[in-house]
């Protein structure tokens, strides 16, 4: 009893117990033999497929390609979103324009643009990046804009007082002051684009023999390699968790938490 209590007091161990529980249910269902291995593979075969794809380098290649695409899209998206929002802060007319286009395009799911992207850019990297950029900029603009609007008047006046003007005032006072909002925007943009990426890859497939994780899943399903499909899903989940809990958590710790701008995370 004492041990169980201790395990449940630790957040990490608690979550581990839940995960082990879910995996056990999975394995029990598989062992009933009611479902074919092609529909519901055993944990063992998924593990084997995962290890195999890692050692053969296949998984690395596809993951790297996915990151290569999302990296480019994030670069373009962040630059675009920041330029549009920064210019909005300088010109009210431009702000109205940005607000209007954000209202129009924000509710539009990236995947819905697939046919258009196909017509405009053809099958390949450009189309995927186009869709990713779309899924990145709107939430980033919305959050950054809200952040900029909530910058303390005093801090803005201090900035102007010491001699900052225009875009320099935006980058030196408004951006750090709005950083909690920007970080939230980045998180949403990241998860939006990660989802869109997997979906878009399944439709556009590979270009020039290269393909990302989404394409890999699609390919494996085509050849009925179900364990590999699950292995790829596992990798996608893992990357999602790592980015959220390592990359963003560190970024938050080094910035807004260090500056005392947000309440610290629970232990």
């Amino acid at each position: 009893m004492q041990l169980i209590k201790k395990v449940f007091e630790n957040k990490f161990l608690r979550q581990l117990v839940f995960i082990v529980g879910l995996l056990s249910v999975w394995q029990i269902v598989v062992s009933t033999g009611k479902y074919h291995e092609l529909i519901l593979p055993s944990l063992g075969s998924i593990w084997t497929a995962l290890i195999e794809s890692i050692t053969s380098g296949e998984m690395w290649d596809h993951t790297a390609y996915s990151f290569y695409l999302i990296g480019q899209a994030l670069g373009i998206g962040i630059v675009l979103a920041f330029s549009l929002t920064a210019l909005s802060m300088v010109s009210p007319l431009f702000a109205d324009f940005v607000k209007t286009i954000t209202t129009i395009f924000h509710p539009l799911p990236g995947v819905a643009l697939l046919p258009i992207a196909l017509m405009w850019f053809g099958i390949g990297e450009k189309s995927i990046i186009f869709i990713l950029v779309h899924s990145i900029i709107w939430p980033l603009i919305l959050n950054t804009y809200t952040g900029f609007r909530s910058v303390s008047r005093t801090q803005l006046e201090v900035g102007r007082n010491i001699g900052l003007k225009g875009l320099r005032l935006v980058s030196s006072v408004m951006v750090p002051s709005a950083f909690p909002y920007i970080l939230t925007g980045l998180k949403i943009s990241w998860s939006n684009s990660w989802r869109s990426l997997v979906a878009a890859e399944m439709i556009f497939g590979a270009s020039g023999g290269k393909g990302g994780l989404g394409w890999w899943i699609y390919q494996k399903r085509f050849f009925l390699k179900t364990p590999s499909v699950f292995a790829a899903l596992f990798v996608i989940i893992l990357i999602g968790i790592l980015v959220e809990n390592v990359v963003f958590a560190q970024l938050e710790k080094q910035t807004v938490q260090r500056w005392g701008m947000v309440i610290r995370r629970e232990k």
Binding site: S152, T154, Q155, E157, R160, I162, W259
Partner: protein
């Protein structure tokens, strides 16, 4: 002595949905080089508006502001403001970083920035907290840091908008004494806004009393009490009463009528 700041026939109007409000009406005064002027008035008399106009944060309807010989309108590092709000330090920079950054914007090179920042941190007794972030400081320490940052920029005039207004009484009186000490050492020219009569007398060479609706200058009183000034001396109390009667101290009297305390006009 030369006039450092000259305000000539300043008018400020606020345009609102419920009509326009004349915040300031025909304000003219000057502050001498090295002088400490306190501006005293009830809340809503436009004293904050006045200092914000001088700083360039608020636009004026008509009138002129001169800093030395040159007319000013836009905000600039020649008139540095110390605010009442504790969030006037940039939370993403350390205490010393707040100062060195302001110096960097004003074109000082790196080694000079550090030295200068340290000098002023020492002056406000905050050198131990140089590497701390603002959220780790108390309210009084934040105001000290803000004063250090302002002084480091060597402004021609220091504008202080109730900088001690949110502090507890004890911290407040410590900082008042320190401000006088620093002012005597540095020789800066200061305009200091307050609604506290005692603070106005303790700090100012002159006290400018304002009245509201619209904001006008009621009287400018010389404070001829030797420093350090102590509130319990007869001359201090006499001046306190004089300023008290000059202020329009309204209160709700019986029958809900607006009574004016004796001595008004």
């Amino acid at each position: 002595m030369d006039a450092k700041v000259v305000i000539e026939n300043l008018w400020v109007k606020f345009e609102g949905e419920q009509g326009n409000v004349q915040a300031l009406e025909d304000i003219s005064f000057s502050v001498n080089e090295g002088e400490f002027l306190t501006i005293l008035g009830p809340s809503g008399c436009g004293k904050s508006t006045l200092i914000r106009v001088i700083a360039g944060f608020q636009s004026l309807e008509k009138g002129k502001i001169f800093l030395g010989k040159k007319q000013v309108a836009e905000p600039g590092p020649d008139r540095i403001m110390v605010f009442q709000e504790f969030d006037q330090l940039f939370p993403w920079r350390t205490v010393i970083g707040n100062i060195t950054y302001a110096l960097k914007v004003n074109g000082l090179d790196k080694t000079k920035r550090e030295a200068k920042a340290n000098k002023y941190l020492e002056m406000v007794n905050l050198q131990e907290f140089a590497r701390a972030f603002p959220h780790q400081l108390s309210g009084g320490m934040k105001q000290r840091a803000a004063i250090a940052r302002s002084l480091a920029l060597n402004p021609e005039i220091l504008l202080m908008d109730e900088p001690f207004g949110s502090l507890d009484a004890q911290t407040r009186s410590i900082l008042q004494a320190e401000l006088v000490r620093i002012w005597q050492k540095v020789g800066s020219t200061i305009i200091f806004i307050t609604h506290n009569i005692q603070e106005a007398i303790l700090l100012g060479d002159r006290v400018m009393v304002m009245s509201s609706h619209p904001g006008t200058i009621k009287e400018i009183v010389d404070v001829e009490i030797k420093r350090p000034r102590l509130p319990e001396t007869p001359e201090f109390m006499k001046l306190w009463h004089k300023l008290y009667t000059l202020l329009e101290t309204k209160r709700f009297g019986e029958n809900g009528r607006n009574n004016v305390l004796p001595g008004k006009d």
